[in-house]
Symmetry: D3
């Protein structure tokens, strides 16, 4: 089985990190392919960048030359999953939803710890639309920008642990979701410090994508995610297919 | 005052229609400028096309060479308003929200009549995120595609009136919102046939945009819609500025 | 266009203040007429007074001898708007709803800062019934009574700014609504101190009323706000028409 | 124990009917006193009439010359209960809420059958504000006006039974609430025909009022329903006390 | 009238305490019979114990040899009420719901003060399913285990009062519900200290059960609470009937 | 990895059917062990039977003599999952939640088709408590009892397909969940007839349980699902351990 894991920004070291996390939990027969958008922001931290990423990921997937069995949209709180579902016949799994869905099997309430304060509404909106917000105790921001996570992992752990502890003690969370693709790898540290299960969205998404493929399930095509109707689409894809 | 009214698809006759509707209600001192995206679908009827439109509208606005006082996003149930709010200092008004907000001053419940069945979830999601769904009685589809509205206005009126009547009698709507930019101009016919107020989103958005400008109000910049952080954004804007 | 702006209490200096605020934003051709109830409390700060005001405003409007194009109910969190809608053919705009509706075009969440703690539930209830509460971050009380606002504007600004700042920092509001007709005029001070847009309900209501009239829209009469059925109504209006 | 049961309209035969229903379930030591407003509509079927009734009931209670232990507001879906709670130290029970509260002990979902279609939103709003709407399957209108209930009881039963049956079969109601003070007395007929428990609001309210008095419980005075602040209230009460 | 009051744990001194509280408010003609489960935990403080109690109470009631008119399930936040409703023709009243329902007649919002932190979600879930959570300001834990309430009443009052005060001042509760059968008897102390009405679930349930019997109302049998279908049930009842 | 799959009724042929379905999707290294309760109903179709099943499943698991890695509660809309989570350190997966969670990755809305009408509220309640109801279009009953599914599979498919088709066309479901453990095996037929993805709860639960084990995740023990406190529990377990 081949799963495409799409980074939402143009920073290839983050694609590598996400792919590494995905591979660490993938089943033996699963091939993980990292996808990096050909345009867009070096990190996604707001609506403009997220909309751009939505289209850049669709563009990158549209340009991918070989067959695949599932796609993981590996951006936290990002736009675009619904568009991929229209374009593709294989399952599409968003890591925001994968993490929330998994956390709900583990505790009464979960909290998300993300990067910047401005990302909180995007995550809240995604969870609301996905209908996975009822047991979300809070979405908390560590105050670190996406790229700072890579530059200073020690400080990242500290600030994330601090918010995770507040989520558990004040917001009554019983599970913590690490709300940023770039946080992959920090979950062991956070779990050790807080004593609650910590869910990484990329890892959760890999098991869900594998499960859907194994169960022979994919996106329903009867209404919302039917293929786009035949029509003139100017300038699509945005970038030319690789020669 | 200059207001940019952005069509979400690449069909210029629809831009003209929207602009005409906007001008018919604009105040004497208001200049209405139509914006047509430089890429994307000839009509927007799903998530893929809508995400593409979100970026195409941002691209077109980014390329607009002169000053302006407000922007109207003239697609019904489309993505993108939040991105424009980050990029701009002037008010941004989405017609889906403008229509709902206006309808709520006119009756206990309102219904939206849109084009295709597959557009219903997009509109429902936009209203939910906007927090304007509590008094929405229903979103109904006429079954007509966007471009069919222009091709056969007579049939369009019939199918829209039929759904509007069901919305009033069965869903208990007291106001009808015409849920497609391309429906501008049909509201008198629908009102006459159903006996309830009919709100056109473009017209509503023009008065709201003018009002915000007049009141000296614009998008809050303290968190969600703060300007994008300085960073490397590859390939933006998508198209080159007009020479 | 003539708009009646109804104060909800019997203090004429407050009517004057509200009228002044309304006129400062009204379009050139709009005539603003202040209405003061002929009975009721000198300030409205609870349910008893608010219900009395609802009837007193209907009574005053029923006694108004000339034609008019719209009515603004200028009490924050007060009862009565639905009754006026039944009695009148012209649009009726409640300032609680006008302010919320306007604030939602400006930021992800808004907070209301009102006078006394006991007014908070009335405002929350009005927003809930209006379906405009989903993006309300909080309703906060400054602790000042309605009439104290006039007596000590400096202290009023301080206490309102303090709550507004807490709304922004703690409740994550991005827009502030001044939740009392008597606060009209303080919005510039509050905006300067908090850095977020500040919406005054009276000003917002004037632009909305003008817009509805301009668009040829008024209250739907098919069900909830149909005219009262012909029947015997003893003692109505409460006061006799002016000779 | 003395309980005042306030009719909301000026039709004394309806006061008599309500008092009869109340007495039929009252405990031996309970005295039921009927209150008829001194002004207002002969029947309440909309917001204007309901607001007027809210004030007229407060006026009538304020003019009542003797002591009492509880007040029942015997109008279905009417305004005013909160005002009475501010003015009085004794418990105030609204029949809309009493019926819903009682119905919820009897089945998974309940439906309300009321008079005219235009009364539906008033009832829905009262239930929503009271937080008693989550298990309300539907509010259905029989199409009969309030006063028609008295004039043609046979037809009333038929039209009410028809809606009750639809509520049970289509809306999945398991309990029926008769949503009009004037329906008191029809509940046996409706129960026999539908096979589900039928709750009469006046009867339910009597037992609840008695229970609150017996338990030594009354309205909390710490915030929302604190007594009105001392201030000038012009023209109150509306009518002069009986000599 | 005979009412069975079922303790949910096997501690007979708690059954006695509950029965005492029930008798103190019962009407002259009402006989209160305490029921103690024949198996299960000495105190209920979690889901395992609560599910066990649900079955143990059904078992004890099934073994009760004489006729009765109503059953009170006297555990706070416990499972089982729906099962009793299926098995019995007489009304079944859960004290969690009785207390909430009563509190809602007394103030705008109520809070529950319970024992251990882990009981909070059980109570929240019961209120949510009962549709009585909309006006619940908070469920707070005093930190005392169920059996500690009996062992050290003085300390119990202090810890309960502390949480009740926070509920009133911070969560805006206007009524306090004592959320544990074992707290019966503390309500006067708490009321005196907090100044708001305090509702005891057992007392509230007694008046509601009496009222339902008096009104001739019992559980609807048309769907959810219809008697179990005839079928083989192995090992039921769990314990043998008393000889 | 060893997963216990607990049937909720005492019919061993249903245990076999469930185990067969589980094994058909389990990974090569996964051992599926069927658990049949030692007491309770031959089929679960209501609250009494469901509460009994909750305890009977806990009893059976408590008596299971060997180690295991996860437990699946294989009853649709049944009680008990939370109790198992307290008693066990390994993950517990409820098939109602597993199916809903899986369906939400496949379409905008899903519907559940279950057996009898009276089971609908149990399923709705479980989904509500699990916070998985927001995208549930409907829960529909086929009218067939649990044991009839085995007796007449042809008729079962017909009645289930009929409701599934109505769910898709009228309720706008895009995915169907088969809401009864006994329906395992019918999903291919239903999928073929309706054209939408069909999710079987047992199959979904197996992949989720495997995934949680693989990710090293299990129930959070910090609050709601902490182990029961040490205390006297009379008569537990209900049945004696197998010799």
């Amino acid at each position: 089985m081949r799963i495409l894991v799409a980074n939402v920004n143009t920073t290839t070291s983050m694609t590598d990190s996400i792919v590494g996390q995905a591979r660490s939990v993938a089943s033996p027969g699963t091939e993980i392919i990292g996808i990096t958008p050909r345009f867009g922001a070096e990190s996604c931290e707001g609506n403009f960048e997220s909309y751009l990423a939505a289209v850049a990921v669709m563009d990158a997937i549209a340009n991918y030359p070989e067959a695949f069995d599932a796609v993981i949209q590996a951006g936290y709180g990002e736009h675009g999953r619904e568009g991929l579902q229209e374009l593709l016949d294989v399952p599409v799994v968003d890591i925001t939803e994968a993490a929330a869905s998994t956390a709900m099997f583990l505790g009464y309430k979960y909290s998300v710890v993300t990067t910047l304060d401005r990302a909180v509404p995007l995550i809240e909106d995604r969870l609301k639309l996905a209908g996975l917000d009822a047991r979300c105790a809070s979405v908390r921001a560590s105050g670190l920008a996406v790229l700072e996570l890579e530059q200073d992992p020690g400080r990242a752990v500290e600030s994330i642990v601090r918010e995770a502890e507040l989520a558990v003690s004040q917001d009554r969370a019983e599970v913590i979701v690490l709300g940023c693709g770039g946080m992959a790898g920090l979950n062991e540290s956070v779990k050790e410090r807080t004593g609650v299960p910590v869910v990484d969205g990329v890892a959760a998404a890999v098991t869900i994508a594998e499960s859907l493929v194994r169960l022979g399930l994919s996106t329903s095509k009867v209404r919302t995610y039917a293929p786009p109707r035949p029509k003139k689409v100017t300038g699509w894809p945005i970038t030319r297919p690789a020669a």
